[in-house]
Amino acid sequence: MKTSEPKSNVISTETFPPLSISSWRHRHILDLDDFTTEEIELVFEIADAMAEILTREVKKVPTLRGKTIVNLFYEPSTRTRSSFELAAKNLSADTISLDASKSSIAKGESLVDSLCTLQALGADVIVMRHSQSGAPYLAAQHTNTSIINAGDGWHAHPSQALLDLYTIRSHLGKLDNLKVVIIGDIMHSRVARSNIWGMSTMKTKLTLCAPATLLPKGLEDFINKYQLPNINIEPKIETALEEADVVMPLRLQMERQQSGLLPTLREYIQLYQLNKHRLSLAKPNALVMHPGPINEGIEISSEVAHGVQSVIEKQVTNGIAIRMSLFYLVTGGKKNEA
């Protein structure tokens, strides 16, 4: 057989996976605790195809034409909400964004009633953010619509963890046997919690680094109970950063100091801020990530946040591809019409 075309034109046709998806069984995306390695890989494979659409001049495909996707946000959010909305629009779905403070929820309608109304209006997917941990689980029990958890309380933020993993995978080519360090307010972080599940499943080594007051109570028992040998706790940032492939500081909410969890903000900055010097303790080309929004100068210095090792903006772009992938996977199919 002739293979004389130049390198730039060569396309990978080495592997030919099956043509349809039979391994997917999630109607809702609530957290990553019940995802298998194959399912996470599947989300990434679809996201790869979606990422190509994002490079086009016209970033739109007709895939979800006629589907309605509702963003139901009981908590303020710009980045996650815009990301879900753009993802839906890129797939040609119709979108409605509901801000709880400006809808009938403000008039006292209950969560379940709101969901039933949205279902009656013909919503195919409801993307939901709620300040109460577990609210999306309640929602999933009371509607036939697919629920995607866009963050519930301190509990879970699966699409963020997926985009974090996807970003690491696309930069470092793999996930297993990498060392990721998450620094900061683990206790209040749904991002950290979903990443604990996701990274455990993908065999990524995750070190949680925080002052004792910002670690969830009973974290060690939790790690033992669920047998998560890849999750480690290391309170000292310098030690935690050794040999790190990825460093992810979390946003420190200013209220934490008032609630007595931190002596002073200045002390936190001194002990835990990811600055240039500390970053140099990690591997030379370690990635710097952040789930946003960033408090520059608090948990991360400006020069690191905008430095050459930062892939924070990439995370935002990847977030759209991941959410397109999730929409693709949960919509359609006869099982949803049943």
Partner: protein, 186 residues
């Protein structure tokens, strides 16, 4: 299930060489061509056409791959979602003569989807269609510009194209559930 070989490796090679010549003739050269293979088996066929054209014209025609799953008209009625492959068209198609390459031409629905997909990437001068096998039964007003072999079939029959790069061998066969295998030159 009775199986009958309709094209041997040599038959396939000859058909592809002829199609390559026809593409060059029709487009008066290979300068503004882009070959786009449809996943899965259209892609290696497009690469082979490009290799033959290179031998004829000494021009490396860009080869792309196209996944039409996102453009299918039956997505919401499918039991299982199709797996997506990354679309990769390595060049701007605007102003180019885009030749879509597929293995079997049947209802025309995939080609409709492929044309929409190509249009989303830019505004080509023309879109042409090259297929290894045309088995008839069109459901849309679409025709092929280059055909390797016309094979009249009944809808209960299955045409199976195998290519070296995917299946390990080059072969076109017809599978039939109950009826007699028709003569291939009918």
């Amino acid at each position: 299930m009775p199986e009958k070989i309709l094209m041997s490796p040599v038959d396939m090679e000859r058909a592809l060489v002829r199609i390559a010549h026809e593409i060059v003739e029709r487009n008066k050269g290979a300068e503004h061509l882009v070959l786009v293979g449809m996943q899965t088996r259209g892609v290696p066929l497009a690469k082979r056409l490009a290799a033959t054209i290179k031998g004829l014209e000494e021009i490396s025609v860009p080869v792309g791959s196209l996944d039409i799953s996102l453009y299918r008209d039956d997505l919401s009625s499918l039991e299982l979602k199709p797996l997506l492959h990354r679309t990769n068209v390595p060049t701007d198609v605007t102003g180019k003569h885009v030749v879509l390459v597929d293995d079997v031409f049947y209802t025309g629905r995939s080609i409709r989807a492929a044309m929409d997909a190509i249009m989303d990437l830019g505004r080509p001068q023309t879109i042409q269609l090259a297929v290894l096998v045309d088995r008839g039964h069109r459901e849309l007003p679409i025709r092929a510009d280059y055909v390797g072999k016309n094979i009249p079939t009944s809808m209960s029959e299955e045409i199976k194209v195998q290519v070296m790069e995917v299946d390990g061998e080059d072969k076109v066969t017809i599978l039939q559930s109950d009826r007699e295998v028709p003569d291939e030159n009918k």
